[in-house]
């Protein structure tokens, strides 16, 4: 689960990490009021609260929002209302949001923090060695994934241990990498330890402070913050689970989540219903081998019953890209006849206007086959994934 910058900063502050003073605003007049509450004299920084990096270099779709990006420096209080009005309720597009962009419904207003220099600090999990890894770079405001693949040497990687503080040797390595002299070692170690304890306390999968600002007083300040928390651990962080912003998610993804399904969209034209990640990957790969690609995958996970399958079909059918449907469900305890009943229930309710190929493996397979055959609907039963995809490809070909 991802949270907004202002929420992440609040959490960092609670864990003893310095952040600029800031407040959230939903309207232009509120923006002016909170700006004055923060400080009577600017400058202020206005930051669009959407869950995306690269906001500064983004652009708003509407002309009314002006040509500036999602992060704006304002020096005169009289301009706050004007800038806030441009940003609020307009759609911001960044290189991470995709062309659709995201609607800015709130902005975070901060006092401008004067810093001498900035750097990147992140903590992630390296699954290959089951370790927590600290990442440091002098390059700021860049996508760390792109940076790591384009110039590997620009990132320092330090393995940390959950139960221990960062060692003096590790601190020195980080300081040297950043060209910070000895006088910075103590505050740097303190800052990094607080980052690590936040990471542990929160069950985080990733914390990025990009950039960290270093002040004249040798204080380390989080100028931006991104925190991603392990969904599987949210049960022990009820206060954080409440921060989830449903507006950040696609409507169909949310609907799928209600049923504990996992829904993903791509740019092809085949909709797939499967009961496992592996089957979704297999279907995508095989469709590609036959010259087709996937519009969406819906993983109904584990056990499947009539209602689950009917709901799944309805979610898939409402995706306008879908021109053909593949249902591939495997499992020894799966009662195939119930899946067949679900398929009928959904197609009787919303109709079937496109080819549908079904492959089921489990008990009562022949019963399921007969149910689908007797329905008179244009549903084909296949014995293997490959046969299913071959048949579907042939039908799509014929339709074109």
């Amino acid at each position: 689960m991802n949270i907004h910058e202002y929420q992440a900063k609040k959490i960092l502050a609670q864990n003893g990490i310095s952040v600029p003073n800031g407040k959230i605003a939903y309207t232009p007049s509120e923006a002016k009021r909170v700006a004055l509450e923060l400080t009577s004299r600017g400058p202020w920084v206005l930051k669009a609260q959407i869950q995306s990096g690269a906001r500064e270099n983004g652009h708003f779709i509407s002309h009314e929002a002006g040509h500036k990006g999602g992060i704006r420096l304002v020096t005169q209080i009289s301009n706050i209302t004007y800038e806030a009005n441009q940003m609020l309720n307009n759609v911001l597009v960044t290189e991470q949001t995709g062309p659709k962009g995201k609607l800015v419904s709130k902005i975070y207003i901060e006092t401008f923090a004067k810093t001498l220099r900035t750097f990147y600090a992140g903590i992630v999990i390296d699954s290959a060695i089951s370790s927590i890894t600290l990442l440091i770079s002098k390059e700021v405001n860049k996508d760390i994934i792109n940076l790591s693949t384009s110039d590997y040497t620009k990132i320092l990687r330090v393995n940390l241990f959950p139960q221990e503080n960062i060692s003096a040797i590790q601190t020195e390595r980080v300081a040297d990498f950043l060209d910070l002299d000895k006088t910075y070692h103590a505050p740097l170690a303190e800052f990094l330890n607080k980052m690590l304890s936040t990471f542990i306390n929160l069950d985080a999968k990733m914390i990025e402070i990009n950039p960290v600002g270093v002040t004249k007083e040798k204080e380390f300040i989080a100028l931006d913050a991104k925190i991603s928390i392990d969904d599987n651990a949210l049960y022990r962080h009820k206060d954080i689970a409440r921060l989830k912003d449903d507006y950040e998610e696609d409507e169909k993804v949310l609907k799928a989540k209600k049923y504990d399904f996992q829904y993903n969209e791509f740019d092809g034209n085949v909709g797939c219903i499967v009961n496992g990640d592996g089957l979704a990957l297999e279907a995508m790969d095989m469709l590609k081998n036959y010259g087709y690609s996937t519009a969406c995958t819906l993983n109904v996970k584990g056990g499947v019953d009539k209602d689950k399958i009917a709901t799944g079909i309805k979610i898939i059918m409402t995706n306008p890209r879908v021109e053909g449907i593949l249902i591939n469900i495997l499992g020894g305890f799966l009662r195939c006849n119930l899946v067949a009943d679900g398929i009928l229930a959904a197609t009787q309710e919303i109709g079937l206007t496109m080819p549908m190929i079904v492959r089921l493996e489990g008990t009562n397979k022949n019963e399921a086959k007969n149910i689908l055959k007797d329905s008179g609907l244009a549903i084909t039963f296949a014995e293997s994934t490959e046969e299913a995809i071959k048949t579907l490809a042939a039908k799509l070909e014929a339709n074109n």
Partner: protein
């Protein structure tokens, strides 16, 4: 022969009174699995589905010789249950739970280091030695006794791999799901090692997927082996756009971007036969002319 579990393996079921645990324990008993004890949080219970139950692993090992555990406890309780199993020095634990917090797995991994316990999972269908022992939730009706070892990082594709070996008539010596999660107890290496030592296993089928770097370590390990049995490998996820696998950002940043094509090449370079389509596995197996 087989690896890790056979008809003589004495099995404990951790969390035996749960609905799923009861259902699958009964199936496993019917299959011939030697389940000797169970643990439960329920107080004042002596027996469940005919099996003696205890309130802790420590209590169970006082009364029974136990080689392995099937763990059915829910995800939030896995860390403590693993601690119990490791302290009791159980040789093998198969953890079925889906959704174990990744920070718990980090702790479990450090507990496992230097211990006598091998952990399979979490988020796995488990382990099955056909006609002998079923430690998990595998459908028992699809497996056939034979000479192919199956290791998979994808639960559902394990079934596909098993069906492929059935098509050749070669069957399976042991089938193991390593677990679908970002961090699993045991990676390919530990399992490949045992299959190489097992006289009954003639060849292996390895199923990998797009995320994580376990396939890379498998390749490195296999290349260093002196006596190699053939491995037929399939890696799922070639068509998955990169932007959709960002959940593993940590790996990408720390280890660089490794695509499915890269993984396939790595496995091919060390002498494994890599198929582009999972349904080609039986063809390659047939070409090997194996005698079970």
């Amino acid at each position: 022969m087989s690896i890790l579990a056979n008809k003589n393996t004495r099995v404990l079921v951790q969390g035996i009174t749960g609905t799923q645990a009861s259902f699958h324990s009964k199936k496993s008993l019917d299959y011939g699995t030697k389940i000797v004890a169970g643990t439960t949080l329920h107080k004042n219970l002596d027996k469940h589905i005919g099996i003696p139950v205890y309130s802790s692993v420590a209590d169970a090992v006082k009364e029974h010789e136990i080689d392995a555990s099937i763990m059915f406890v829910p995800a939030p309780m896995v860390k403590n249950a693993m601690k119990e199993a490791i302290e009791a020095e159980l040789k093998l634990v198969v953890t079925i739970a889906n959704g174990v917090p990744v920070h718990d797995m980090l702790e479990i991994k450090s507990m496992l280091k230097g211990s006598k316990t091998m952990m399979i999972g979490p988020n796995t269908p488990g382990l099955i030695t056909p006609e002998e022992a079923r430690l998990g939730i595998f459908p028992e009706n699809i497996h056939q006794k034979g000479c192919i070892g199956v290791i998979s990082r994808s639960s559902t594709l394990t079934y596909e791999a098993v069906l492929e070996t059935n098509r050749t008539g070669l069957g399976q010596s042991t089938v193991i799901g390593l677990g679908d999660d970002m961090i699993v107890g045991t990676d390919y290496r530990g399992i490949i090692k045992r299959f190489m030592e097992d006289t009954e296993t003639k060849a292996l089928v390895l199923i990998g997927k797009t995320d994580s770097l376990y396939e890379q370590t498998a390749a490195e390990y296999y290349s260093g082996l002196k006596n190699k049995k053939p491995i037929i490998a399939f890696i799922a996820g070639e068509a998955m756009p990169f932007s959709h696998i960002m959940g593993y950002a940590g790996d990408i940043i720390t280890r660089g971007r490794i695509t499915v094509q890269d993984k396939k090449k790595m496995l091919q370079n060390v002498g494994m036969t890599v198929v582009d389509n999972i349904t080609q596995i039986h063809e390659v197996l047939n070409e090997l002319d194996l005698v079970p």
